[in-house]
Amino acid sequence: MRAWKFGDDINTDVITPGRYTVTTDRKRLGEIAFIEYRPEFAKEVQEGDVIVAGNNFSPVAIKAAGISAVIAKSFARIFFRNSINIGLPLFVSEDADRIDDGDEVEIDFKTGEIRDKTKGIVLKVKPLPKFMEKIVEKGGLVNFLRSDGYDNV
């Protein structure tokens, strides 16, 4: 999976500028992700790619675009909850900036190891607890509660 690198304070307006977001259609949201900030993103992103960011990363269009995980130094609170609840895993790493744009990365969700294959380095992050891993695996809180539920994890 390819790493897409962004800076600090990536907020909703950077990801999905207001005047493009008069839709709740997932496919369309995926097409407008970063439309002005990085116009090539929506065209070139591949299913499973990863976003690496700085501090205070906040926002759903990115999942629709095919992104499988976000690694950042910190996340805005509402984004954190919402992301897990829609099945987009997030990892907090102080070393997020060691990964560069275009690097080939691999994430082991169980051990919390992020392997940058381009650089040959491994970042260690706190793995998600079992139930959160399940929420992500099922594609979000609603699906998770409909199928497994907290009691069966």
């Binding site: 609840n85 959160m132 409909r146």
Partner: protein, 412 residues
């Protein structure tokens, strides 16, 4: 390991010996609340998961944001939520007060975990509980399962000491704190209020403090329960948790409340805090007393004391919404409502009233409102070109008399 109240409540609710900040916990929730504005979306999420609530006595629906319905769209939302209440046979359905006040009066006990589909769900933490606001998907999930996942927050301690001077109230204290800490200064943190000022404060004033924890970004506000709390609970019991003396706080604030003057928060953000002297003399069009922040009996009492036997300024609307039916009755029986009406006030039904800008006192362009509520964002009470200035009930009432913003100490 030494723990804070918040950590102890979350450990207890998630059946663990202890939890630490940064841990994830799945907690049993004592109550799940949604109001008329947020329930319809939560109900949609709920029905995607299951068709029966986890406990019909623990899912509470309150119509307070626009009750009685001022529009057809509002009535349609009420219809949807009411059907859910009937279909699920919920015992907790209320249309007679602001959700946080009703939950404090009738439901929450120390040690409880409350999730509410409203950002000011941090209010009820003043009773020694863990209470927080969540989005509709989370609330739908909690209605279905009685459980919710949390990241255990780091705690901030606000040690409030001394006594306020005459004319200075809990609202001034919390506004002053928000001015210092900033609108994002407590982002995601548990805000624990302690110290002799808090111990001596009434439960009503403690609710005011915790109500505004979210205005500095806090996840929850919390105050250790004591005898006053138990007296307020009127027979409900709970489990009292106390922070260990050596519990770890990310930050500790020492605040001498005697130094605090009457405060105002100027638009358009809550941390734009000044002393009332900064805007003294500014003409107002409306004065609003009520809400989950300051619509309690002590608030109505001080306002009544200020306006009784006098007349409010001719150019001002003075709107009063008691925060609950019990408060409405008490204000009625004490004669406050009559005194207020004789002074020129308009009394609205117990609800959020003008605070959410949908009815009962919306503002037009160019108008200025001094309000006892908790948010002064542009457009909250109607036109985005109107100004909302936050202050204590005393400052609101004194300003209603004067027709301009004044220092309440000259009116007490």
């Amino acid at each position: 390991m030494a723990s804070t109240i918040t950590e102890k409540i979350l450990a207890n609710a998630s059946h663990q010996k202890e939890v630490a900040p940064g841990d994830y916990a799945v907690a049993d929730v004592s109550y799940v609340m949604a109001h008329d504005s947020t329930a319809p979306l939560a109900i949609e999420s709920f029905y995607k998961i299951t068709d029966k609530v986890f406990d019909k006595d623990r899912v509470i629906i309150v119509f307070d944001h626009f009750f009685p319905a001022p529009t057809v769209a509002g009535a349609t939302m009420h219809q949807k939520s009411r059907k859910f209440v009937m279909d699920q046979k919920l015992s907790g359905f209320h249309t007679n007060g602001v959700c946080h006040q009703l939950l404090s009066e009738k439901y929450i006990s120390p040690g409880d975990v409350l999730v509410g589909a409203d950002s000011h769900s941090c209010t009820e933490g003043a009773l020694g509980a863990f209470t927080t606001g969540l989005g509709s998907t989370d609330i739908g999930g909690a209605m279905a399962t009685g459980k919710c996942w949390f990241r255990v927050p780091e705690s901030l301690k606000f040690n409030l000491t001394g006594s306020t001077r005459k004319g200075v109230y809990a609202k001034d204290v919390i506004l002053s704190i928000i001015g210092d800490v900033g609108a994002a200064g407590a982002l995601y943190k548990a805000c624990e209020f302690t110290g002799d000022y808090v111990k001596n404060a009434t439960v009503a004033s403690r609710l005011t403090l915790c109500n505004m924890a979210i205005e500095m970004g806090g996840k929850n506000g919390v105050i250790e329960a004591d005898q006053k709390t138990l007296d307020f609970l009127d027979g409900r019991t709970g489990k009292i948790f106390r922070s260990d003396p050596d519990a770890a706080y990310e930050d500790e604030y020492e605040i001498e409340v005697k130094d605090i003057e009457p405060q105002v928060a100027l638009p358009p953000v809550v941390d734009n805090v000044e002393t009332v002297s900064a805007v003294e003399g500014k003409p107002i069009d409306q004065a609003f007393l009520g809400t989950c922040t300051n619509g309690r009996l002590e608030d109505i009492e001080v306002a009544t004391r200020i306006v009784k036997g006098k007349k409010i300024a001719r150019n001002v609307r003075f709107i009063v919404s008691p925060a609950s039916e019990d408060i409405y009755f008490a204000a009625f029986e004490n004669g406050y409502l009559r005194d207020l009406v004789e002074a020129g006030a308009t009394i609205c039904n117990p609800s959020c009233g003008a605070c959410v800008g949908r009815h009962e006192g919306v503002l037009c362009e160019g108008e200025v409102c001094i309000s006892s509520m908790n948010r002064n964002f542009s457009g909250r009470m109607g036109s985005p070109e109107a100004e909302i200035i936050l202050a204590s009930p005393a400052t609101v009432a004194a300003s209603a008399l004067a027709g301009k913003i004044v220092d309440p100490r000259d009116y007490l």
